[in-house]
Symmetry: D2
Subunit: 345 residues, 4 copies
């Protein structure tokens, strides 16, 4: 039984980690930390978790107070915090799975998109980019994992077959995505209030959302050449779910929707958590599950490839994928502790 | 591995049975039937279930076409259908768990509340009322189970400690409950349309909702005397969840909120799926889980006991409880295949 | 054209005042103040109001900086603030309509329910309780109005005919009400976050919600004897709307649902904003309108009167009623600037 | 006072017409028809409309039973019905505003996109395409109006300035739009059920949604050359609102986001219902209002123009715009009976 800490466990990705790990047969949560919520019990914030974490309190985080004998740390800290604490965490744990953005990009790209230099660039080389369907070997080869962002997971898995197989141009790509509100976390801002977010769809982060950099990095790796994406995130009045609708220009002739579906089924053949499907996937089909659903189309009229992908931003887009990565790091079956069945209705 | 059929599997309780049973280690679904949806695949209706039921089709239901060797049938048919088909079902399966209302009430009460005579009164004696926390011994002693209604599960578990311990009067009880829309099933009516149900709360079934009879039957059994309830159901714009707020008059002196909480904790001590809690329970804490959460209060100012109970109407209020009952019938651990952790946020 | 200030205009009741007053032919908003949002434009917070308030900024509030020549001030300050600022406001404006709770209760009741002494008890006598359907003459006779709370408006209008006509006992009353999230205002608390409030119903303020005092005060006035209420508020995942389901014991014989409906229609005959209806009213029928819908029932089986009332908590439950009161104070037609048609779907 | 009939008044666009026309000083509804709902009262279906339509019943529609002396008919019939009934309607009324799709496209385009020949092609020439901001003169010059679709209104108004001013290429345009569920009408289909639509975003009509033809027709007219659009509609769990996010390639150099905003402000200068704004517009800002909000961006990194537009699909996207058109036909002030203020929160 691997011993794990959840660092920054009071946010939504932390809570989802706690929920999923409670069902995990080979990982045991031995410590949970929080910042402003330190001192509260897990149940105070998440009565849903009472039966599994009765009496467990969020401890204040300090590298000195980490439990002894940790095999693994899941880190769900606000942006910028991980790089500050990474060095002692790495010393204390054989494996770190960082759910934040701090170790996903090379130092230069990080500086460009985050507007500030990376504080621990010497550690970047120890982290793989944890998208198992594309980078499983690297994940196994590196000690630590930078867990992908929720939008990038959806966009990259939607577009990777096209670029890997040379079916689409790597530039001129549009990613138009809609997320549930939980993607913005548990922060107290007016836009996250029920009365403002309900009965409302809006775009945000026009042109410069930081997740663009991740999409371009991973798609470039898949394409073997520089990919370029314009990305528009939106929020819709639901708690969970991301739907990414992606547009690309064909780089091959003879495309058809049926042919693309075959390509996608081949490409993801054997993947336990990815399903290429014929009908447009509803986000609800993935609720609570580590599943990614995707359908491709080719429009001969306008010469456009359209791909629609769906996932639960807190599971395959965050905490579920983190456990999938942890399973790889710990040499467990990749599906351990995870479900592929969504909750519907 | 017990072989089970899900009869009437295309509605929401059927879908939830399929989801939960896919994770059950000791029950295998070998047949799924539907009426109007016969011929469709499970995935057509519930893409969430694709990974577990790929290619499985809803068969038209007939007692002749039941699979051989069934150990168990879960029946999720519209009201009135079960009693019509019960006789051959009982012959074909050692155990029937009927999620509908047909076998919950004695014949006389059935006729009163449903406005028509029961069509199979001779079979009523073979069904226990499947609320394990109160009637576990009967469930084990009878071959078949009438699974309680969603509202009655919430109301009865909220009030049972008061009546069992003689703390409240068995008459003058008010049950005011709010349900998610899935409680009205998958039927195509205007009131179930998103655009009508969203941003809307309304009451319905004023004074004569049929679940009243179940509440009175079970609470009378617990009290040892006739209980009487006025029940007002409401719908709120959420998919799942029931919150029952119950009002009763004290039958003992010296009551206090703290004392009542102690009584509730004692009464439900050892129950795996019931938790008496100090704070008002949010329905969301039970989403997807077989959990019932309850908190009692005593108001010395007005001399009123107030109890608030929460559950997921499709799980503890229907399909989860059906599996809990099946586990009892099959002599499995009562919690097999069920989770007590809600999905939150 | 009466000149009005909206004091504390950046919250939801303030925004709704601004929206409604923009359509009012006889009241002109000449000043809008806010505390933490001072300096922002109205449109920054409410882009919905752009066409009417382009460039208008929330000013910081001080009694010194009140516009000259104000005829009227609508005050939508947090609890406790009105009583601190009432004296200069009253000097500056002929009429104050206070949407907060500060001037609704007599000093003694205020101290009991709010746990602290009133800071301006000498001014209480200048405020009427602004429920026009019951206290229209008082509203016209006093210079200022304490606008009722949202829950009390729903509960009192639901129960008043019973108590005025001696049909129900004034004690043993239960008010079980469900509100949209906007009823808790624009405050940044976790419980108001979309991801926590969505797909969730919960009770709060068990036994001691302060609105109980208002209900008892007004119902006692109507009954001519002390009324007593146990009140349980709930929140449901919608932005607007209150549904109050009220239970009372009969004080007269020969009651019937049809007879009660006649009594309600008589009682509210001629009221422009109250309609007694045969079917349970959905809250959505009142969205954006100053309308209160109500239906009564009598259950001969249990001897219980059940009354269900619906309104929009931001309109008839707050800002619409404030304008209705202002119209009375200014001798305008009571319906000026208000609609009785809800937005549905 | 113009006398109007609402033909097909029991759906959501019909209900919204009834709501808005109740406040219109110069148009009086003298007849309301419905098909399956004939015989019901308006209030049975929409208790929100009770105060204005008490006792009014939906009549069965037949051209023989049209009221005498009609000045105007608003037609909100299912697709294909208008063309069948247009001839007698045109004889009976000086002006028809058809909210359906039957008279929007030329006969050839109609046959292509609707898969069937038009049944009244000889009448097409009497209908203008009713987007006042672009085609006001034509609307005034023709007797009848084909009211635009909801998605086309959003997409065309978002893109028209770019094409009119030669700033964007007319081909390679992507329109990715999200609608509230009311856009699919009041039809009883599983996908419209609350429990399926809630907590769910999905795409539909991939590649071949019929509204594409309208967008291309109107944008071609604006551009003076053939425009081509790939359009992906989505539904999100809200009742009202459309957000269109549009992507186009620049056809001019020196573009910037600030410059585009200036262009949009100039282009829509003086328009009472269109506002070019700096921040991404939330759909909620337009709820219940006839307002269209739009913001443009230019991304120099990828060379992409992104435009985001928001409206209420039942108002500016349907019934509000129909009244705007009727005002033009009747020589009334264009804003009569319409509000530009959204309801928020």
């Amino acid at each position: 039984m691997a011993k794990a800490a959840v660092i920054g466990g009071s946010g939504y990705t932390g809570a989802e980690l706690l929920r999923l790990l409670a069902h995990h047969p080979d990982i045991e949560v031995v410590q949970v930390t929080a910042a402003t919520n330190a001192g509260a019990t897990v149940t105070d914030l998440y009565p849903s978790l009472g039966p599994a974490y009765d009496g467990v309190r969020f401890e204040p985080f300090s590298t000195e107070s980490l439990s002894a004998g940790l095999d693994l740390a899941f880190v769900a800290l606000p942006h910028g915090e991980s790089q500050r604490h990474a060095s002692p965490l790495i010393e204390a744990c054989a494996h770190v799975v960082d759910i934040g953005a701090d170790f996903r990009l090379p130092a230069a790209a990080y500086a460009t998109w985050y507007g500030t230099g990376h504080e621990a660039p010497e550690l970047l080389g120890q982290f793989s980019y944890g998208l198992p369907e594309l980078f499983r070997d690297e994940i196994r080869a590196f000690p630590h994992v930078a867990n992908p962002g929720c939008y990038p997971t959806a966009a990259i898995l939607s577009l990777a077959p096209l670029l890997a197989l040379g079916l689409a141009e790597p530039t001129g790509i549009v990613v138009d995505a809609v997320s549930g509100i939980s993607g913005r976390g548990r922060s107290l801002t007016e836009e996250n209030l029920f009365s403002e977010a309900n009965e409302n769809v809006s775009a945000y982060g026009l042109l410069d959302h930081r997740h663009t950099a991740e999409m371009e990095m991973a798609l470039s790796a898949v394409a073997g050449t520089a990919a370029q994406v314009v990305f528009t995130p939106h929020v819709a009045p639901m708690t969970r779910g991301i739907l990414a609708t992606c547009y690309a220009r064909p780089a091959a002739s003879g495309l058809s929707s049926a042919g693309l579906l075959d390509h996608y089924r081949d490409f993801y053949s054997g993947e336990p958590f990815v399903r290429a499907v014929a009908d447009p996937p509803p986000t609800k089909a993935t609720a609570g599950a580590n599943t990614f659903l995707v359908t491709p189309r080719f429009d001969p009229r306008t010469g456009t490839i359209v791909v629609v992908g769906a996932l639960d931003n807190l599971v395959k887009g965050a905490s579920g994928q983190a456990i999938q990565n942890a399973n790889l790091l710990l040499d467990l079956a990749e599906t351990t502790g995870l479900t592929d069945l969504g909750i519907m209705p």
